[in-house]
């Protein structure tokens, strides 16, 4: 998709994930493919239930078995298929080459141990170092995530820290194994707006200083716009549009992306009114025929309901799964 020729760090090919539920099998992700180059930042965008987090958990090998099943596809990290790795090797990779931070910093730290202990544990999970060395490294990590008074903070329990501080601690834990890929699943959703900006700034600094690639998962297009250089838009478990961030944000070629952008609040006077997307996310057990976005799409025509459209190149590394793209002619 990309014109960039450097070998991809992460390559997801035709990933499909199903969930066995009481009401039958739900295909959570259908044939999603995307790549992330070393040191880059890919924003995975979509509303709740679109399959963003499932994608992240699939990469981490943390999908809840046996309910979740990967039915097709490959996940390549530096060319190695993670889905074929034995559990022990996958465990070594988690927190090592691939790390993840979660949405809920308030509950993602163990209340029974100091934050320093938890970071030191993450350090020792991936390096044969003694307790003293692990402590020194943990304090250094606390400094790296810009926590003031790192030495003092080391011995504090999570309940003494604010949400923003805890998310910094989570990021420090994630950095403990010097990851090449950091998956950030809604890293700022639970935080205050001012703190959100600080965390974004921190992620940007980490990306720049360590060359860590970031897979940024969010429903917040503003956040994604400020960090990602590539964007992939997910809807109902499918990738409906992907390409360079500037293209997607400035010139979306899928009606769903257009809808998402229309729903982002802007502050400038004279802007267009906020718009929502009509209708609901479809029930994945019985998706609508043809294009899954069809029932909510203002441009939907008979051919859209005939067959599910595949991603189509729109030039400059931009691809859309809309039969009617380019949309310029329609509006």
């Amino acid at each position: 998709m990309s014109v960039d020729t450097t070998p991809a760090l992460l390559q997801v090919e035709g990933l499909a994930v199903e969930f066995a539920t009481r009401d039958g099998v739900v295909p959570a992700i259908s044939h999603a493919s995307f790549t992330l180059r070393p040191g880059g930042c890919l924003g995975l965008v979509g509303e709740s239930g679109s399959g963003k987090s499932v994608t992240a958990l699939a990469i981490m090998g943390l999908l809840a078995k046996p309910a979740a099943r990967i039915t097709a596809g490959r996940i390549l990290l530096d060319g190695v298929d993670l889905l074929a790795l034995p559990p022990e090797e996958m465990r070594a990779l988690r927190g090592g080459a691939v790390a993840m931070i979660f949405q809920e910093p308030m509950s993602s730290l163990n209340p029974a141990f100091t934050v320093g202990d938890q970071i030191a544990e993450a350090v020792r999970a991936h390096a044969r170092v003694g307790a003293r060395e692990a402590r020194a490294r943990a304090i250094e990590l606390l400094r790296q995530v810009r926590i003031p008074g790192a030495e003092r903070r080391f011995d504090e329990y999570p309940h003494r820290l604010s949400g923003g501080m805890r998310q910094r601690v989570m990021i420090a834990m994630a950095l403990a194994g010097n990851p090449r890929l950091l998956i950030a699943d809604e890293p700022t959703t639970a935080l205050d707006v001012t703190v959100q900006a600080q965390i974004v700034e921190l992620l940007r600094a980490i990306q720049a200083e360590h060359g860590t690639a970031i897979l940024l998962i969010s429903h917040n297009l503003g956040l994604v716009a400020s960090l990602a250089d590539e964007i992939a838009v997910m809807y109902a478990g499918r990738l409906v549009e992907q390409g360079p961030a500037a293209r997607i944000l400035g010139h979306p070629e899928h009606p769903y992306t257009v809808g998402l952008l229309g729903a982002v609040p802007r502050a400038a006077p004279g802007d267009a009114p906020l718009t929502g997307i009509e209708g609901m996310v479809p029930d994945l057990r019985s998706p609508p025929p043809g294009c899954v976005f069809g029932p909510r799409c203002p441009f939907c025509v008979a051919t859209c309901r005939a067959a599910e459209p595949a991603l189509r190149g729109m030039g400059a590394g931009h691809a859309s799964a809309c039969l009617r793209a380019p949309l310029d002619a329609l509006a």
Partner: protein
């Protein structure tokens, strides 16, 4: 940021203690239990008489200046026997709990963590154990191994095992779903480490509460077994065996029954109040 930055490092223990300090009833109960512990530890120093020495010149004497709680049917000092009996009764409260917790936590942890068929098998065995009456187990153990205090405590511990296993499993299930367990998995922690370091400490509160309640139950159970002659064997004193001896002299020497009965009552109430207080103090939802 919280407003208490400058204070000494805060710990969960400290928070729980602070919470406990706000409940006068719990503090009083803790003081009572502590007093019993001290009495047990220093029994030989406190007891005015040898609890085993009989005096046939002073049989079944009512309370007096010399024998504050009277004497029993062979002239032994009731106060001294109650004091020495504290050791047995406290042990009867602690050892079965240790047996039950020690066995149930690993089983519950495995069942809750592994889930699936492992969980199903372990839980069905536990259900089957629930169906065995405690007294039958105690009598069977006494029949096979002889009536003695250790066997009685073993029986009490085994009898309460299924309740503890269920509790430990429930706690493990609840803790396993916590975000920090998922986060530990995401940093590559091994299953053993997740179970022992991340799950076990956070399973402690409900088990601690149950243990304090169980200690009270176990003391009653020891008294019952000793009363039936399956626990502490004469002439060593235990509150249950003292009651057993006293029943034959209820009318002539009621003080023989009143003293051990009263201390059982006080200790059991104190343990139960302490358990309730712990439950309130450890309730994470209140913080």
């Amino acid at each position: 940021m919280s407003a208490t930055i400058a204070m000494a490092p805060d710990t969960r223990l400290r928070r729980v203690l602070r919470q406990l300090a706000r409940q006068p009833g719990t503090l009083l109960a803790a003081a009572v239990v502590l007093a019993f512990v001290l009495v047990a530890v220093f029994a030989p120093l406190i007891a005015p008489f040898d609890p085993l020495r009989s005096n046939f010149l002073a049989v079944r004497r009512p309370p007096s200046d010399l024998h504050w709680l009277g004497t029993d049917e062979v002239g032994r000092d009731v106060l001294s026997r109650v004091i020495h009996g504290t050791r047995i009764s406290l042990m009867a409260g602690v050892i079965p709990v240790l047996v039950a917790v020690g066995l149930s936590v690993p089983i519950g942890l495995i069942a809750g963590y592994r889930g699936g068929w492992v969980d199903a098998v372990l839980m069905r065995i536990t259900d089957a154990m629930l169906a065995i009456p405690f007294l039958i187990v105690a009598i069977a153990l006494a029949a096979f191994l002889g009536p003695d205090m250790i066997n009685a405590m073993l029986a009490i511990g085994l009898a309460s095992l299924p309740v503890f296993i269920r509790l430990a499993r429930g706690a493990a299930l609840a803790v396993r779903a916590e975000d920090y367990v998922e986060a530990a998995r995401a940093v590559g922690a091994s299953p053993m480490r997740i179970a022992l370091r991340h799950m076990l400490p956070n399973m402690a509160p409900p088990l601690l509460v149950q243990a304090s309640i169980m200690a009270a139950t176990a003391i009653i159970a020891e008294a019952s077994l000793s009363f039936l002659g399956l626990g502490q064997q004469p002439p060593a004193p235990s509150w249950g065996s003292m009651l057993n001896a006293a029943q034959r002299h209820m009318v002539a020497a009621p003080w023989m029954a009143i003293a051990p009965g009263l201390v059982i009552f006080v200790l059991v109430i104190a343990l139960n109040v302490l358990g309730d207080g712990l439950r309130d103090a450890l309730d994470v939802k209140r913080h």
